[in-house]
Amino acid sequence: MTEDLSITDLFSMSKPVKTDTRSLEKQLRILGIGSPDLCFQCSKCTSGCEAMKLLELEPHSVMASVKSGFVQEMVNSDVLWSCIGCYKCKERCPQNVSPVEIMYVLKNWYVASGKPIPGDYQMMLQNMMTKGFIQENKEILDDEGISKDRGALCLPDIGGPQDMNKFSLIISRIAVEKLESD
């Protein structure tokens, strides 16, 4: 049974579902992840969010949405998948909330509901299974706009899985275990 929260989103005409927030919070408790309850919307996470700059991810807004019951909306939102998992939001949050981990949980909910993993992620998965990396090493731009590779940044070469078959086998096994345990 859903509680009537006397709120309607006039853009989508949807109503928040408090039970979704509750089951999310229950799962976060089990996983030991900082609850969004304490979030007071300072937007520090969004200020520093690497995915915000390119793909307009607003972690503080995701926190507000899941707090107020618009959980399904977030689960089905494309923008969640732009999180690059840098964990800056968690490190800097003054209220010990962990947007990055909460978004992982939401993404898992999405996959668990049987929906297809978004295209770019499929590609990353494929790269991972065949090459051991989600993507090839790329050059990056510094503050002056000059392109630099790992060598120019004095970083060592990255190795890779020695036995590709064994590597993909282990990864698959972990994925199956995860699905079964969920």
């Binding site: 007071f40 937007s43 200020s47 700059k53 800097r92 003054p94």
Partner: protein
């Protein structure tokens, strides 16, 4: 032979309507040593006269008054009994609020009234006379910390005629307020406000000013504290020094100016700041060549007034004072090593900005970039730096919103073309004239950004920038700044830990002092005779510090109103024969009311609040409350159960549980008559025996109606009582008694309805199961 006078009040038909007074008298007449009388209105003049006359004529030495609640007429009856007997040789049985008003069945009402009276008789039987002690009160005050709170409290006390010893750690009094440029919400010059106060303190004949001094040791009892003060040498005689500055000119050692928070330079011998008090130079020993390397001494040679004295020695001063005021103030949290880039010279704190704003400060009142002295064009304020942040200080620092409003306005006035940004989470402006003040800030073309940055970055050219998401425009903004002012969190001063240790007073997790009660005793510490004011209690603005200081002076004056103070010894007392000197009571007392005196532990009567925690915790059972001993509790419970076996004993705290039962009475909320309310000062005093014995005497259950934990009437009473209950339950389990028959209910005094609901439910449940148990 001693006789107990029992006086039963009809209270019109308030009592007599439900309680058959005639029957009560019949039942009680079977007991030999009782003298029983009744009166229509016992509280009336005639009723009181009857009590006195009966005491005289019947040779009575103990009294039971069966009438209304003691909350109502305790004073009247105590004053009446005091005319003939010791003021504690009586007991009140509440047969109105706790009986006639909550029961409608006359038979049940009469039986309950009888049981309550029987309990009171058995309690008063074991009452010993309680003496009055006369405690000397020293008419002197020690004030620790010479900031605005300490100065104001000192002046107030000195004006009231008390000798004040004002101890200040630094070379001048004045505190952090002397660092400020202007103050909100009036924008007046801080120095113009504080300087006259400093001079008044210096000139006051009743104030002894001890600068460069620290309290090293404290002992004694309220009214008679001994303090040992260490006074560090100034190496300059302030009475001779004319502040000409020649010594400063000639001193070869340049150091960072502590007063300017690293923004300016000064010499090892220097004047702390303009218009400091005492107005004199002093030598910073740790930088001076003479004291570090044994060379130099130029200052002594050049001083035209002969004021420099490098041979000065440390002094140890012993003081005896009646009261202590702690006003040790605050500091700003060191936020270096965080994402805020405090290491960058152009990232400064709010207090550093104050030094720049002050015309007499290191920049002559000019706002500059400390890195190279250029005038900044883009100036940004960042709020809540380390405040409201669980990784640093989770509380709000209270004053930052308003001082940022003030400083941004001052900068706008000085620099009409500058870009001024403020990054914030919420603007908090709840004080008098504050919201209006915030409105004037908004009229000053200051860009308000609703969000705070994740990190502050700098470029090789020294310029600063950060990204911030503005919730108002929903844009990610890059903010370039030449100067960033951080509203860093406010913390207690660095000496707070040693103050806590010396004075045995508690602080919260955040390090600020905890008052005896946040609302109704906000400037008292839990230890009698030790008070506190200003930012040692938490972040607050100047006007609140002044309010605190005035309040603290009034509280101290109440204690110091005469050379002695009479106190009833209705406190705890330690039996020296049984005491094993384990020291647990002293460690656990929340009021620092147990002291070692002549090799024995003793209760400090002025400090003891009769909560009874020591009674419960003493492993030797050596401590008793004079007004409610273990014997008396047993008598009271036994008396009740002898008339009404199967009752539920409801131990109730006087501040909450007992009051709730009174309210249930006045609002006629009926509950089962087997609930028998017993008044305690605090639930702390309950021992395992108090919780186990009633079952052996025939009780059907024990209810503890305690104050809610959040109220902290006696600091940690609920937590402590729960521990005792846990132990009692173990004993019950071993005895084969259902441990769930003890229940603690936290209740607030107006909640008569909760009392009705809880007691009805428990009484019914316990009654049902009682029939099953043989």
């Amino acid at each position: 032979m001693s006789k107990i006078g029992v006086f039963i009040c009809h209270c019109g038909d308030n009592i007599a309507g439900t309680v058959d007074v005639g029957k009560l008298k019949d039942y009680l007449s079977n007991i030999d040593d009782l003298v029983i009388t009744d009166h229509m209105f016992l509280c009336s003049e005639a009723g009181q006269e009857q009590i006195v006359r009966t005491i005289d004529s019947k040779d009575i030495d103990r009294v039971v008054i069966a009438s209304c609640s003691p909350m109502h007429h305790e004073d009247i009856f105590q004053n009446c009994i005091k005319r003939r007997l010791n003021p504690f040789m009586w007991e009140m049985a509440n047969i109105r609020e706790h009986c006639s008003w909550v029961h409608s069945n006359k038979e049940e009402g009469t039986e309950k009234a009888l049981s309550l009276i029987k309990g009171a008789i058995e309690k008063v039987r074991y009452q010993e006379p309680i003496d009055t002690a006369v405690v000397p009160i020293k008419q002197e005050v020690l004030v620790i910390g010479g900031g605005i709170s300490g100065m104001h409290a000192s002046l107030e006390m000195a004006d009231k005629g008390s000798k004040v010893h004002l101890v200040e750690r630094g070379p001048s009094i004045g505190g952090n307020m002397t660092r400020l440029g202007r103050t909100f919400p009036t924008d007046d010059c801080a120095m113009c406000t504080v300087s006259p106060i400093m001079n008044k303190v210096k000139a006051h004949p009743m104030i002894e000013l001890l600068t460069l001094s620290e309290v090293e040791e404290m002992s004694g009892t309220p009214g008679d504290f001994k303090a040992i003060i260490r006074k560090h040498p100034r190496y300059v005689d302030p009475d001779r020094c004319t502040s000409c500055g020649l010594c400063v000119q000639k001193c070869p050692v340049t150091i960072d100016n502590e007063f300017d928070l690293g923004l300016g330079k000064t010499k090892a011998i220097h004047i702390p700041f303009e218009s400091c008090v005492p107005n004199s130079t002093y030598i910073q020993e740790r930088s001076c060549l003479r004291f570090q390397k044994g060379v130099c001494g130029i200052c002594e040679k050049v001083c035209p007034a002969g004021a420099v004295d490098l041979g000065q020695k440390e002094q140890v001063i012993e003081l005896t004072v009646g009261a202590v005021i702690v006003s040790t103030g605050y500091r700003q949290r060191d936020m270096s090593g965080t994402e805020y880039n405090m290491e960058h010279p152009n990232v400064i704190t709010g207090l550093q900005l104050e030094r720049m704003i002050t015309p007499s400060g290191p920049t002559g009142g000019k706002i500059i970039c400390p890195s190279d002295g250029r005038i900044p064009k883009n100036i940004t304020f960042v709020q809540c730096v380390g405040s409201r942040d669980r990784r640093h200080n989770s509380y709000c620092s209270n004053i930052c919103c308003m001082y940022t409003a003030k400083n941004s306005k001052i900068i706008r006035a000085k620099m009409p073309d500058a870009n001024i940004n403020v990054c914030y989470i919420d603007i908090r402006a709840p004080g008098k004239m504050y919201e209006e003040y915030y409105a004037t800030m908004r009229e000053n073309n200051i860009k308000m950004i609703m969000g705070i940055p994740s990190e502050i970055m700098d470029r090789p050219d020294g310029s600063l920038y950060f990204d911030v998401f503005d919730k108002a425009t929903k844009k990610l903004l890059r903010v370039d700044s030449d100067l960033i002012i951080m509203a860093t969190s406010i913390e207690p001063s660095s000496g707070m830990e040693s103050i806590l240790r010396m004075l045995h007073i508690p602080a919260g997790e955040e390090g600020f002092l905890i008052p005896r009660h946040v609302k109704i005793a906000p400037v008292d510490t839990p230890t009698e005779g030790i008070f506190t004011a200003g930012t040692s209690l938490g972040p607050k603005a100047i006007q609140e510090c002044i309010t605190d200081a005035g309040a603290v002076a009034s509280r101290v004056a109440t204690l110091l109103k005469s050379n002695t103070k009479s106190v009833y010894l209705d406190t705890a007392v330690i039996d020296p024969e049984r005491c094993t000197e384990c020291g647990i009571c002293q460690r656990e007392c929340n009021y620092n009311a147990i002291t070692m005196d002549g090799g024995k532990f003793k209760v400090v009567d002025l400090s003891c609040r009769s909560c009874g925690k020591c009674v419960s915790i003493c492993p030797a059972g050596a401590i008793t409350l004079r007004s409610l001993s273990a014997k008396q509790i047993k008598g009271l419970v036994g008396g009740i159960l002898s008339v009404a076996p199967g009752s539920v004993i409801a131990y109730s705290t006087s501040a909450c549980g007992y009051m709730a039962a009174d309210i249930a009475g006045t609002s006629r909320k009926e509950y089962p008559p087997d609930i028998k309310i017993i008044k305690l000062t605090c639930a702390c005093q309950l021992t395992v025996e108090d919780l186990v014995d009633p079952f052996e005497m025939g009780a059907n259950g024990i209810l503890i109606l305690s104050c809610p934990e959040a109220l902290h009437h006696y600091v940690d009473e609920v937590k402590f009582t729960k521990e005792t209950i846990g132990k009692a339950k173990d004993v019950l389990r071993k005895k084969g008694i259902d441990p769930d028959r003890i229940r603690l209910v936290e209740i607030v005094s107006p909640d008569g309805a909760k009392l009705q609901k809880v007691s009805t439910e428990l009484s019914e449940a316990w009654k049902e199961t009682a029939e099953v148990v043989p």
